[in-house]
Point group: C2
Chain length 216, copies 2
DNA sequence: GGGAGCATGTAACGGGTTACATGATTGG
DNA sequence: CCAATCATGTAACCCGTTACATGCTCCC
């Protein structure tokens, strides 16, 4: 048995692993398929890839030897290219899954940024933005449920299903937090309505040295 | 009154607005201060900026005219530079807050990616990763609470406080979802333990045409 | 004296998005 | 026949990260 020492994994980015992951369920898929599949699973918690990224990731994976491809569409110019994971790819997946340090979850919440800067905005508009976000979360929740139903009872999809259930809960929580904040917002509006007449700008000024004296 | 038509806002990225937002509370701050402040507020829901980014953002803001700076440290070579928002900056902030389309929240959840690919990994390791994530969420929750306490009772910080409370709830929910998934994981392990002996690889193979027949 | 924190930057890299371009197939 | 969908790609751009570099000041 030659070369049994644990060779270094090529340091791929998580998105590359996610792409390989899509192939690791055993299907032979086109870039187009991949994108669609990502759109009803990975999208909820990780990634909504663009086509261009998918295609370049796939080419990269093939170059490394983690995937192979073949062109099907008869003898045409622009043939459909189907990708399949290789044994080397499967092994690399396993090693990555078990050995690679887990990247922390990243959240970039544009809506909360707006709320955080609430003093600069019109209260009514703030409220509107929140309501929209609430509705969006609810929509995502429903979609996640639908996709989870599609995945249920498929024996190979136990883990994706588990994550889809997590996602459902995630959007449910997101919705509920938006509702809670809506209530906070109204409470704040009432309080500020009582204590000031109309001053729109700079209610924040002065608050000087708390920054400096705040314990890290 | 010259030039009253609504001039176009320079299309800054959200992170630039976030930087300007940090200044919009009225303080005169150094890049270093800015970073620290971001670290105990924006970090929870949006952004943990690097110094290099902070400094380049600040230079950009000054160039546009949304901030001014002055060097304090006597006549030294490497003086400390303090930035302050300008009236133009304040007005731009307000317009952005009220008029700019809100970027959707982005989530990139490395832990869930691992779980989604659970079939490729060792169950015990999977569990470990989840537990770690759970603990991290709890840590963040506690930090958010602490920072919220620091911000409470400051009249100008009502909105940041509101978001900090949202963040507290966020990490609480994150923790609880991790716990729930831990339970799911154990249930799944028991079920799979009953139905198969030891096959590690490819329990997922075959699951063939469901993909193609799945309704988008 | 030395380490921790203060303070500011430059340069390289690359990942990911957007815009653009092309054309086939399918169904109403 | 025309629109939608299938299907694949290139090129430019730039945001953000990482690594590197420098030197101060305060405090033990």
């Amino acid at each position: 048995m030659p070369n049994e020492e644990p060779t270094d994994l090529p340091s791929l980015r998580p998105t590359s692993w996610a792409t390989l992951g899509l192939l690791s369920f055993g299907e032979e898929l086109s870039g187009y398929d991949l994108k669609k599949w990502a759109d009803w699973s990975l999208r909820f918690f990780y990634w909504a890839p663009s086509y261009s990224q998918i295609y370049s990731e796939l080419r990269k994976l093939e170059e490394i030897g983690y995937a192979t491809s073949r062109v099907v569409n008869k003898d045409d110019v622009r043939g459909k290219r189907l990708y399949r994971i290789t044994p080397a790819g499967e092994e690399a997946m396993s090693r990555w899954a078990n050995e690679a340090p887990v990247e922390p979850a990243v959240l970039k919440h544009g809506v909360m940024l707006r709320m955080w800067l609430g003093h600069a905005g019109d209260p009514a508009h703030l409220r509107e933005v929140l309501v929209e976000h609430r509705d969006h979360a609810e929509k995502m929740r429903v979609r996640a449920i639908a996709d989870a139903e599609g995945a249920a009872h498929e024996p190979g999809w136990a883990f994706p299903l588990m994550v889809l259930n997590w996602s459902t809960k995630y959007y449910e929580d997101e919705r509920d937090r938006a509702d809670a904040m809506l209530a906070d917002l109204d409470k704040l509006a009432r309080k500020q309505g009582r204590s000031r007449s109309s001053r729109r700008t700079s209610s924040a000024r002065r608050t000087s040295d708390e920054l400096r004296s705040h314990s890290s």
